[in-house]
Structures are given as structure tokens and as C-alpha cells.
């Protein structure tokens, strides 16, 4: 469970977050949506303790500010939008990094840590990546490996910043399905920024729309994916269609009508 209360972050004179309050229930998937610069990444980083902030943050029932780096990392696994992938590192060594919060300062990974990571690779059908260098991996493979590293932390909360931004449409759906599967399997609490509004509406239980550092809307996808709310937040003509299958599809309107033939 994640709870933030009146969260504020300032970068010099600019207010990146201006009193954000929101909760994510245990086992729930909440997607953060909003235009560029609305504060999505800042909110995720503040929750993960990577950006100084004011206001309340509660992680799994514990006030986050009283937690050490290590204890926080045992509660929350954070994946940035562009994870750094050391090219010479092997897949297994990369996933083993996820065990860091469980290891003593001078300790090395134990056989149990390796077991946890190998089982995870097995579960995610990535076993063939264990010995490969990261430099040889495709975008989709690397994305799954990054998720595996986050899961190796065995934290109840998963915070993902644009987990699919570098993938093609098919890989995007695959990656989100995998996240959903792992979430259900392990009752994970997931908070993720998702750029693609249609995908956000399909996968998340609830959407939080950020605009200029404040919460503009918070609710189920059908309540947030509305023409008026999105047009105002994104400053452009946005339309929401309901497909015959019942999915909500978000499309943008051109500013000018197409040139006549």
C-alpha cells in the first residue's frame, strides 16, 4: 500500500508537486497519467525516496521518512524510465543486484540469493538470458530483465516509470501483461506512469491524472478518460471512443482540418 498526503517538491522557485494526495491499495494497480512536466516522474521519485520532498509518505503502513535506504528498498522496488544497463554485465548478475537491500554492507550474495534469482528467471522464461551480456539484448528482453531485477527485491510495492516507453506496440502489451501477471501472483501494489492513455485505461484499476503538479482527476478509467478532462489537461483536442469490445480508446484531434486533396 502507498499513501501520499499533501506531498510537495520544489526545484528552486518552481513547484514540481504542489500538494498531491493519493493512495494505492494493496494489490491495486494505479497508473499515473498526465502531460509532460505534470510531475509524474517527480512523484514516483519522491515516493521511492530519490527526491527530497515535504509532506507525508506511507509505504506498507510505515512512515517512509523514518526508513533507512535499505529498509525502504525492501518495501519498494523502483524502475526508472531509462534504466542503465552495464553492457558487460550478465543477465544473472544484473538480476542479483535486486538482492542488494537484503545483503549486509560487506556481504556477498548467498546461494539462496542466486536461487531466488534463478527461480525468477525460470518463472519469467528468461533462463537463456542468465549468461548473456546485457549489450546483446533487445529492448524487449532488457525490459523483462529490468522487471526481473525489481521483482528480485521481493518488495511488496512496485513503482515503474514508463515501463514500456522504448517498446513497440506488441512488446508493450506483452510487458504490461507480464507486470499484471506478477502483480496478481504476488499481490503486489503497482504504481506506474504510463504515457499511452489507452493502455493505461486497459491495465490499471485506477487512474490518477496529474496536471501542473496537482491531482486533476482520480478514479476508475471510465471516470478519468473523459474528453473534457483530457483536453484540459493536455491542452489539445482529445477524444475518447468506446470500442465494440468495451475498451476505451483515446485519440487526438488535429488542430487544423486536413488539407483538401
Amino acid at each position: 500500500m502507498i499513501g501520499v498526503d499533501d506531498l510537495r517538491v520544489s526545484f528552486g522557485p518552481t513547484r514540481a508537486l504542489d500538494g498531491v494526495s493519493a493512495t494505492v491499495a494493496t494489490g491495486e494497480w494505479v497508473a499515473l497519467i498526465g502531460p509532460n512536466g505534470a510531475g509524474k516522474t517527480t512523484l514516483l521519485r519522491a515516493i521511492a525516496g530519490l527526491t527530497p520532498s515535504a509532506g507525508g509518505i506511507v509505504l506498507a503502513g510505515q512512515p517512509a521518512r523514518q526508513l533507512s535506504h535499505r529498509k525502504r528498498a525492501r518495501l519498494i522496488a523502483y524502475v526508472p524510465q531509462h534504466p542503465q544497463l552495464p553492457p558487460e554485465m550478465t543477465g544473472l548478475d544484473y538480476i542479483l543486484l535486486g538482492r542488494t537491500p537484503h545483503l549486509g554492507y560487506f556481504a556477498m550474495e548467498s546461494e539462496a540469493d542466486r536461487r531466488i534469482c534463478l527461480d525468477l528467471l525460470d518463472r519469467m522464461a528468461l533462463t537463456d538470458m542468465a549468461g548473456r551480456r546485457l549489450a546483446t539484448m533487445s529492448g524487449g528482453e532488457a525490459q523483462r530483465l529490468v522487471l526481473a531485477r525489481a521483482l528480485a527485491q521481493q518488495a511488496p510495492i512496485l513503482v515503474l516509470d514508463e515501463p514500456t516507453s522504448s517498446l513497440d506496440l506488441g512488446r508493450r502489451v506483452d510487458a504490461l501483461e507480464l507486470i499484471d501477471e506478477m502483480r496478481r501472483e504476488r499481490s503486489l501494489t503497482v504504481l506506474s506512469a504510463i504515457h499511452d492513455l489507452t493502455l493505461a485505461g486497459q491495465f490499471a484499476d485506477r487512474l490518477v491524472l496529474l496536471r501542473k503538479g496537482t491531482v486533476a482527476a482520480d478514479g476508475e478509467p471510465a471516470d478519468v478518460l473523459r474528453d473534457d478532462l483530457l483536453s484540459e489537461a493536455f491542452g489539445a483536442g482529445v477524444g475518447v471512443l468506446r470500442t465494440s469490445g468495451g475498451d476505451l480508446a483515446v485519440i487526438s484531434h488535429r488542430q487544423r482540418s486536413a488539407a483538401p486533396p
Binding site: V9, S10, F11, G12, T42, R45, A48, G49, L50, T51, P52, S68, H69, R70, K71, R72, A73, R74, A77, Y78, P80, P83, Q84, L85, P86, P87, E88, M89, D93, Y94, L97, G98, T100, P101, L103, Y105, F106, A107, M108, E109, A135, T136, Q153
Partner: protein, 340 residues
Amino acid sequence: MIGATVILAVAVIAGVSIGPVSVPLGVIADTLAAHLPWHPAVSVPPVDAAIIWQIRLPRVLLGALVGSMLAGGGAAYQGVFRNPLADPYLLGVAAGAGLGATAVIISGGGLGLLPVAAFGGAIAAVALTYLLGAGAGRPGEDGGQRGAAGTASILLAGIAVAALLTAAQTYLQQAHTQTLQSVYAWILGGLSNATWSQAWLIVPYVLISGLILLAHRRLLDVLRVGETEAGALGVNVPRLRLIVVIAATLGVAAAVSVSGLIGFVGIIVPHLARLTAGASYRIVLPVSMIGGAAFLVLADIAARTVQPDTEIPIGVITAAIGAPFFLFVLRSRRARAETS
């Protein structure tokens, strides 16, 4: 790692054997045996024994200690600052030590004071760099990337502190031209005055520093994913950086205080370790330490044998090997980047 150890063993044997006076290996072995407790009765010509025990052995040992520390310190700096061009002099160790040494030499202070002043200058320079750099950069103005900005401002502060201290050192040096020769000789670095007492003096620093750095090998691997992600994995990055810098600085300052400013060891040996043994710091750190020892012992052999009558400053040898090698590393990196 086994390869590096074998090279080190060969280098040490060569370093003890090679010199203007040739001493047979058997005599060397007997000389060493004579210094063991409960040693067998051996008879060694006293001149040969003195050459081996009083001149060559401390020199080889000192070279190994200094080389090991410079290379290990360089590898640790490269890891903690995530910068392949980092060397152990990055934060002002060299400039501070140079200023301290110059001050002692021009003031006509005893040579016994020289290592103390060099050590003190080196430590003070790094402390100054850290105080200025780590406090710089107001929180937030970097878009929340405090860790990254911290690194950049520490490196920049290091450049500024080094420039300032080098300016002071150059001024002192030029104002006292009669001591130019000895100042210059110290700055170029060398092992020609090696003694047992110097070696024993730096052993504790090198040992403690080396052990602390080795104990951080796993955490340096975590840092390879960047400071943000390392922080998200529960690593207190500023604290880790401070501990590694303190450990590396103590050892490197001790090494520099007795050997002067020997360049390039700290930068090429870790890269050689990466190229041949792998990029993980679990490998790079120990291989750099062993390989740095071997490299400096071999460079010292070259320094005292290439020209028959005189010694070449060891800094010239390390740079003459180091610079071309560095270009080779850069080129092969580009080639690999293109093929993968």
C-alpha cells in the same frame, strides 16, 4: 587473477635479479633465507647480500606497494565516480602532495619531513575538494538528480583545487630556482631512494586501504547501474562514495609521499584488468592491485636498466608505456562498440 599473480611473481624475481651487478639466483635465495628465523646455515658474499637485501629488495617491495595502491585507488575512483578517465590523483592528491613536498624542499627542511608534508598536503587537498564539491549544487535545481550532480561538482571542485594548489606550487618553485632540481625530481617520482623504513611506513596504509576497497567490490558493482538506481536499491550513495574516497586517498597519499608523483599506473592498469579479466569490480579491484604491483616493478626495472649509466625517471617509463596503451584502449573500445 592467476595470470596477474604469475606476472607479479616473475616481476619480483626479475626486479631482485636484474641490476648493474649480476647476482646469481642461488645467492639471492640464500640471502633471503638468511633473514628467515631458524634459517639454514648459508654463506653469502657480504657485498651481494647488501645489494639484494639493502638495495634491491626494498625497492622492489616499495614499487609493488606503490603500484598496487595507485592501481587499486584508480580502479576504486573509476567505480565510485563512474568515470573511466578517473585516476587516483583526480581529487587533488597530486597537487596537494606536490605543494607539501615543494614547501619542505625550498625551506631546507629535513628529508624526513618530506613524506609527512606530502602526505598531509595530499589529504588536505582531497578534504578541501570534498568540502567544496559535496556542498555545492543546491538541492533540487538539478531536477532531483542529486547524486549525479554531487559527483559532477566534486570532480569540478577537484579540478579547481588542483589548479589552485599547482599554481601555488609553481610559484614557490620558480621563486626558489636553486632547489628546482630536487623539486622536479620529486615530482617526476621514483623509487631510487627506497629503503626498508619507507616500505614499512606505508605498509599499514596500503594494507588497510586495500582491504577497505576490496570489501566494497560488490557495492561498486551496484553503482554500475548509476547513482539513482543504486539509491533505489538501498545503497546510501553519498556515504559509500565518502568511505571509498577516504580509503583510497589515505593509501594513495601514503604511496605518493614516498614515491613522488608516478603517473598513469592508476589509469591504465585498471583498464588492462577490465580488458583482460572482465568489468566486474569483484575482478577489476584485485586484478588491478596485483597487476599494478607487477607493472610498477617492471617499469622500475626498465627505469634503471634502459640507460646504462643513469636512471630514467619512472614516471617517464609509465607514461611512455601508458600513453600509447591508453590510445589502444580507446580505439579497441570504439571498435567493440561498433561491432556489438
